[in-house]
Symmetry: C2
Subunit: 167 residues, 2 copies
């Protein structure tokens, strides 16, 4: 059970790890064990995550492969710079998702289970650009989150409601 819907992938020439190494070298930044441990962990699965969740997935303090919290934050910012991750904020905490190799999309946010569901819609971008043109606004990006209740939670609620009626 994943916390995101799959949208398939986009053709990319390099793995996220190679892409990141290329990015580092192009900027004269160093390829360190911590940075590699983090790219590998982050791109080992496609779920959305925050800094805490990422830390929990890493080896504990003292063990090889462990990375300190400040470095996790610093490196997440580098991933965003490198175009590997997209960052957005939910309930006051930063949440990250794969950007490199994934098509542009938006999100449903289920207020029951707090999951993020991805969806893709071309008409949306077209409409966005049209509205922006009308208002003489030069678009670089957008952020759309549709709040509501996902199918699973709606089903669960319906069931519990009918159960209540049976009493």
């Amino acid at each position: 059970m994943s916390d995101t819907e799959s949208l398939g992938t986009v053709q990319v020439s390099l793995s996220p790890r190679d892409r990141f190494v290329e990015f580092l070298q192009s900027r004269g930044m160093r390829v360190t064990a911590q940075r590699l441990a983090l790219v590998d962990q982050v791109f080992s699965h496609h779920e959305h995550f925050d800094a805490d969740q990422l830390m929990e997935q890493l080896p504990k303090s003292g063990q090889t492969g462990h990375v300190s919290r400040p470095t996790v934050y610093r490196t997440l910012a580098e991933f965003v710079d490198a175009g590997l991750l997209r960052k957005f904020v939910l309930n006051g905490r930063a949440v990250y998702e794969h950007d490199y190799g994934y098509p542009q999309h938006d999100h449903f946010h289920c207020t029951e289970c707090n999951r993020l569901l991805e969806f893709e819609n071309k008409g949306l971008v077209a409409l966005r650009d049209e509205v922006a043109r009308e208002h003489h606004f030069r678009v670089t990006s957008h952020r759309l989150i549709i709040n509501g209740v996902c199918q699973d939670c709606a089903r669960a609620k319906r069931k519990s409601r009918s159960r209540m009626n049976m009493i």
Copy 2:
């Protein structure tokens, strides 16, 4: 010069102040000097604002009409509950705008001057509902922010660029 575009108003029967008093009484909450000072200040103009900006607009500490910071935060949350304000987060700080008496709309966010520009588009909500239906998602609301550069800043940049070319 305002930091929002005007969208006109919607017909409402009560003033924000009266609406808030009604809300407080319906909940058995008390109508205090601080709460009234805050409704009046908040609805005296239509700009977006954050907690700090609101505090600056109030009389200084010691003077009548002053409200402490914790109470400002507590009361802003009440305004949101009462449906008077909408809250959203920008660069890690809470920003508020009038909800009561204003039509549903979305925002352009200019990354140059950091202003929020409002716009209204019916097709957007229609498209949102259509996409949600396709994904069996029960919509309650959405949040859309289109990032980019507003007309004023685009003009300013063009000017400075041509000025640079003249050197």
